[in-house]
Assembly symmetry: C6
Homo-oligomer: 77 residues x 6
């Protein structure tokens, strides 16, 4: 079975950011596994300024973790 | 007696993420030990966008800790 | 006089988690020293989903600190 | 194709801060890709004290990451 | 003139916690320098569960900083 | 042109704290550049307990960054 999270290592900061977004979304799915409920809630946060900011806080926290994992991509490969 | 948290070390990032989810849930149980009350509260947060985002923030914080504990799973075993 | 916090070092991750819970509670006591007021507030947060999540965020932050203090209990003693 | 985030390394702390602001904004775009909706939401947070503070919290988190990436710009080049 | 914050180093974890509480209070004073206004606001947060939890989050963040500064008081002096 | 943030290095912890306060304020300015709007919002947060606590959380996050930058001012110069 393929893992949804095989590694925290990414080639570039941009890919690291995309992974941070993914990590923030998985938490929602794990707490609310019902896709129908999540679909119903989506406009509630995607069109609400405070919720969007809260989502970006979660992303920022994951991006900190991923950046540390990648030694901040200091040495371009 | 078996510990519910014998170690922060996991084999993979995905297992580390699962552990982060578990850690976030234990805190709720310790603050509200009554299972009946928790069951009553569950829809209150599992169907509320802001609460789901707040839960994912807690998970993100625990995932940062667990990732550091595992040296970010940089060296696949 | 005995200190309520003689050390951040614990034997196991589980004890470290218990200490994180304790640290989160002490902050409440220091800001609201009146036990009668705290007792009155308790149902307000122990039966409110958003408050329970917020408490678990505080615990997560303290657990990060305690985990680092213990080198993440990487070497079982 | 040019990356919107080629590197976390900046010449100065001030440029690092600007990058933190940029990172906080990208998260909003990724969660709400519709520019028209974002434009509609903008006054909702730019003229609301609590939202502005929440945005600055996200920026602070990204600035911590970027500062670590740059070794806190300790050695002026 | 004496500094209100001469050092982050404390002899014990407990003193470090007290310093974290102090740091959290100074921020309030700097944003609202008027003591009369602060006195008026005090019951608003000291008797509100959500505010007390938010204060303890700030304390937890400062305690993380102070703990790192003190190498987590790993070596008792 | 002078930078508003030439360095994260400060002589003392107290100056570091002042810099953290400054960093938290700049974020507000960057998100809401209109000084008239900011002046209108000021009483909204300076006289609101929850907002003051939220501001102090942002300051705590920046103070963590600045403290790390300064090696926690462990060696008095």
């Amino acid at each position: 079975m393929t893992s949804w999270l095989p590694s925290l290592i990414t080639a570039t900061p941009e890919e690291g950011y995309d992974l941070a977004v993914k990590l923030s979304r998985v938490a929602i799915k794990m707490t609310q596994p019902d896709a129908a409920v999540r679909d119903r809630l989506r406009p509630e946060y995607a069109e609400d300024a405070k919720s969007l900011i809260a989502v970006s806080q979660v992303i920022a926290t994951h991006f900190a973790t991923i950046s540390a994992a990648n030694h901040y991509w200091r040495d371009p490969s």
